[in-house]
């Protein structure tokens, strides 16, 4: 049962082969058994989960049905969920019980999905290894001495270890795709504006996007059907017709033009990653697709541009955590300034402080033009690069991450090395494009490798189809760590 797809779980529930309560209990028991090892969840609340499951069973008893009714899933702890502690991986919010539901949470509730718990994450989604969490690092189920990737590392470990059949994540610079690659499953970051950011605690507003993480492209399509759609409470949410993201799953790949950016296949990529990606491209050619070389000449600027824009927005977004109205407040303080300084110094971890300082600096009088404005110009150039590339191809492919999962602590002391682990994913956020990672093989140590798919704006349905066809032809996405055997 724990290896079943969402479609299979949904069918089993519909056929009353098992109840939502039974299904939720199955996963809660696995969480109880394995979370002490993996630290994938920050909050588990059996009573709340079972209450939701009972509610789903009651809805079904009344004749209701739906693809997610009674289906359990986990939420990254960045999404506010009414009545649940919502920490964002930070001491600052360790005691914050959200009084409202994020749009994403609300939509899954409406669909009858059952919340299994709140997943660990890098503090305020700042990190690529899940080591910056106040609640401790998450372990990679494929090798518990290694990181699961970040920032949605808890969601990633939960899926890989079958502690949840699916989870929500958010992706500001690769935080869905990179952990999906490092933990060997499928993750999709939609086009900016497709999924409402309302109730999703902001890191970098112009880059943040929520998305589905699951065992397959087909599951991601089902989840995106529930998550996506216009929300008037988010001004950057796009007012578009409702889509069925499963509609192109069965579309054959004949005639598909896959663009391979030459900048993504240069130095800096591990040999094992390269060979797995090249094997995947060979498989795609076998399925009828053609590959063409494209160029993203400004992609080398994406990491520096990102590390100006994201900290700039974060420095302002995180100002609300001041110890005045909610969240951590220092136990003793002198005047108002002391209250701010102590509360924030105690409440935030080192990486968050680093980014607040960087962001504050680049927005300062006299530096704004040289950093922030310049970075915004680069951002436009990067988007223009992609637009030009899509004149000769339908989808872009390449590695998701330059390496497989690294060891815990390996890059923690060197922020720049850590930042470079998102070198292939960041440009996608800067351009606002949809990006996916799907499993495409293993390195010689048995760690999963991810293939990144980058589509044109609003190409999610097509991308999910392209991924699904590959998953019909291969079984990389069905491999699982010994821990979930």
């Amino acid at each position: 049962m724990i290896h079943s797809s969402l479609k299979e779980l949904s069918a089993a529930l519909a056929a009353r082969k098992l109840s939502a309560v039974e299904l939720a209990s199955l996963y809660l028991d696995r969480i109880d058994a394995l979370n002490p090892t993996l630290n994938a969840f920050i909050t588990v609340d059996r009573d709340k989960t079972l209450a939701m499951a009972r509610d789903a069973d009651a809805r079904r008893a009344k004749g209701e049905s739906g693809p997610l009714l009674g289906v359990p899933l986990a939420h990254k702890d960045i999404f506010c969920a009414e009545g649940w502690t919502t920490t964002c991986g930070s001491k600052m919010l360790a005691n914050f019980v959200a009084p409202y539901d994020a749009c994403v949470v609300e939509r899954f509730k409406a669909a009858g999905a059952v919340t299994l718990g709140k997943c660990n994450m890098d503090e305020f989604a700042m990190g690529s290894s899940n080591e910056t969490s106040f609640f401790g690092a998450v372990k990679n189920p494929w090798d518990t001495a290694r990181v699961p990737g970040g920032s949605s590392g808890g969601s990633a470990a939960a899926i890989a270890a079958r502690l949840a059949p699916a989870a929500t994540g958010t992706d500001t610079g690769g935080s869905i795709r990179q952990p999906a690659a490092l933990c060997g499953f499928t993750g999709l970051k939609p086009t900016y504006g497709v999924v409402s950011r309302y109730g999703m605690i902001a890191f970098a507003s112009s880059l943040d996007q929520g998305g589905p993480m699951a065992k397959s492209a087909e599951d991601c399509a089902l989840l995106l059907n529930a998550m996506a759609g216009f929300d008037a409470r988010d001004s950057t949410s796009l007012e578009r017709a409702v889509e069925d993201y499963t509609r192109a799953l069965d579309k054959p790949l004949a005639g598909l033009r896959i663009g391979l950016p030459k900048e993504f296949f240069g130095a800096g990529m591990d040999a094992d990653v390269r060979s797995a990606v090249e094997a995947a491209l060979a498989e795609y050619r076998k399925l009828g697709a053609a590959t063409v070389e494209v160029s993203l000449p400004n992609s080398g600027l994406s990491v520096p541009a990102y590390y100006v824009i994201a900290p700039a927005e974060a420095s302002s977004n995180l100002s609300r955590f001041d110890g005045v109205r909610y969240g951590h407040r220092a136990a003793a303080y002198g005047d108002l300034n002391d209250l701010y300084c102590k509360s924030r110094a105690e409440g935030f971890g080192a990486e968050v402080k680093r980014r607040i300082l960087v962001g504050t600096y680049v927005l300062s009088h006299g530096y704004y033009d040289a950093y922030y404005l310049q970075a915004q110009k680069i951002r436009r150039l990067i988007a223009a690069d992609f637009a030009a590339a899509y004149e000769t191809c339908d989808v872009i492919m390449g590695p998701t991450s330059p390496s497989t999962a690294f060891r815990l602590g390996e890059k923690a002391a060197d922020p720049v090395q850590m930042y470079l682990s998102d070198i292939y994913t960041i440009a996608v956020n800067l351009a606002g494009l949809p990006g996916m990672s799907i499993p495409c093989g293993f390195d010689r140590g048995g760690l999963p490798v991810g293939l990144q798919l980058i589509g044109g704006w609003f190409d999610e349905a097509r991308m999910l189809g392209i991924a699904h066809q590959y998953q019909l032809a291969t079984d990389w996405h069905q491999r699982r760590p010994a821990l979930a055997a």
Partner: protein
């Protein structure tokens, strides 16, 4: 003082009359229990996002049209970052590089002189909450009801040269924002407050260093604060000192200004475009739609009153001081006829204004309607009653005694006596009874004539036609 030139620019925060806040759905009404009107967005809970209230943009468009400014087809909301307990997000959403309105002007009058004050810009922003320092045993209370209230900040060029001009501008602006219905103008509640940038210089010299007086919420304080500041700056310079750029507060109790912070410790607000909000796009058809719903502007109405009704510039200005006054006057003229416009004007500016003032009422709540006043004016014009009796009829209507002028005249028997036979009889009786006055008049004392008129009117209980009484008396005394 004459060898100094004063230079003043004003920044005014006008609270916009929208039902809900500028970026949330919470109500904006004044006076609710603390924090009763602060929703998740206003409190800045984690994860909440701002959504622009389109009504606030409509207010900005109206203002841009009213002052002849240019309305930006695309303006940008920016974050102004600073920490303060009554600023929940740690930043204020405002407009920085591209305001919604640029330019425009307002014509003001000081004495007989007209002057144009040019506007630099007007931009939309949200208000902060309030810190309450009393009643909490030395701690500070935070009320976020006001947080997120929409404001239009209106900035002038440094065009004013005296506190009188500054006050005249503030009054004209105050009248205008109420006229176009974007601000209730309530200064006690903080709906309209001014910051004054003041500097002094020798005529012809470059601009002096300015100090900014914050948060003046009455015209009197505005005048007092500027006057004190001018005096202080001149004295400082004449004593050999230098003015340091600073933000100052006015203390109404002492009548003095004192520095709050200097330029050195001014904030670096780290403005940047708010990534949570799209640029505000205002297309020509939206402007046209707003324009169709706007009242005639005071300057145009004033010119029309002068042209169509032959009113003096002074009268026309007085009648267009507020939209409610202008509407009352126009309704009155519509009922009484354009030929009686001057008379209507005199009544509105005279009797009506005096009674409203005495009773502390707004013209919208005047007990005598424009139509009722037109009735009084009409009956005076057609000689049914004298002007003096007209006042009695007006008073009766004010007190609610009668549906209209005719009803009061009939009920109280106030119709004027125009029967020359009846008046002649009264004149004859008065002349016979007052030989002394007659003697005095004939001896050249003009005052005696007035005494005789008074006696006749007394006999007629005020109802005799005054012109006929005059004519008859003159004729008899001459005879």
């Amino acid at each position: 003082m004459s060898q100094w030139e004063v230079v003043i620019g004003l920044e005014t925060h006008a609270q916009l009359k929208t039902q809900s806040k500028i970026f949330s759905g919470a109500a904006t009404a004044f006076g609710a229990a603390p924090n009763a009107q602060a929703c998740a967005v206003d409190i800045a809970l984690p994860g909440v996002l701002p959504v622009l209230n389109r009504e606030a943009a409509v207010c900005a468009i109206k203002f841009g049209l009213a002052v002849g400014g240019s309305i930006a087809p695309r303006s940008v909301f920016a974050r102004k970052n600073y920490f303060y307990p009554d600023l929940p997000k740690g930043y204020q959403i405002s407009q920085f590089e591209t305001p919604v309105v640029a330019g425009g002007a307002l014509v003001i009058r000081v004495g007989d002189a007209e002057k144009t004050v040019h506007l630099t810009r007007a931009h939309l922003e949200e208000d902060a909450g309030k810190s309450l320092h009393e009643d909490f045993d030395g701690r500070t209370g935070i009320d976020l009801n006001r947080a997120g209230t929409p404001l239009l900040e209106i900035v002038t060029e440094p065009d004013m040269r005296s506190s009188e001009e500054a006050v005249a501008y503030a009054k004209a602006l105050h009248a205008l924002v109420q006229w176009i219905g974007i601000c209730d103008g309530n200064m006690q509640e903080g709906s309209f407050r001014c910051d004054a940038n003041v500097s002094v210089r020798r005529p012809g010299a470059p601009l002096g260093t300015r100090r900014e007086i914050k948060n003046l919420n009455s015209f009197r304080f505005l005048q007092q604060a500027i006057d004190y500041e001018i005096k202080w700056q001149i004295e400082t310079i004449e004593d050999g000192g230098k003015i340091q750029q600073a933000t100052v507060l006015f203390d109404p109790d002492t009548g003095e200004t004192r520095a709050m912070r200097s330029k050195e410790d001014a904030h670096d607000y780290r403005y940047f475009p708010d990534p949570d909000l799209l640029p505000l796009e205002i297309k020509a058809d939206w402007i046209a739609e707003v324009k169709r719903g706007m009242p005639e502007l005071p300057a145009a109405m004033k010119a029309r009153f002068e042209r169509d009704f032959g009113l003096s510039p002074y009268d026309a200005a007085a009648l267009t001081a507020t939209l409610a006054t202008a509407r009352y006057f126009e309704s009155c003229v519509a009922a009484a006829g354009a030929a009686n416009a001057k008379s209507c004007a005199n009544w509105v500016m005279g009797e009506v204004a005096a009674r409203l003032n005495k009773d502390g009422l707004d013209i919208a709540a005047a007990p005598v309607s424009a139509a009722q006043l037109a009735g009084v004016v009409t009956r005076i014009a057609d000689n049914t009653i004298s002007h003096k009796i007209g006042r009695d009829v007006f008073d009766a209507l004010w007190a609610g005694a009668g549906a209209d002028a005719d009803a009061v005249i009939a009920a109280k028997g106030l119709r004027q006596i125009t029967d020359s036979g009846a008046i002649e009889a009264m004149v004859d009786a008065v002349l016979a009874a007052n030989p002394k006055s007659v003697e005095e008049f004939r001896a050249g004392k003009d005052k005696a004539f007035n005494a005789l008129v008074g006696q006749v009117m007394k006999a007629a209980k005020g109802k005799a036609n005054p012109q006929q009484v005059n004519d008859l008396l003159k004729k008899k005394l001459a005879g």
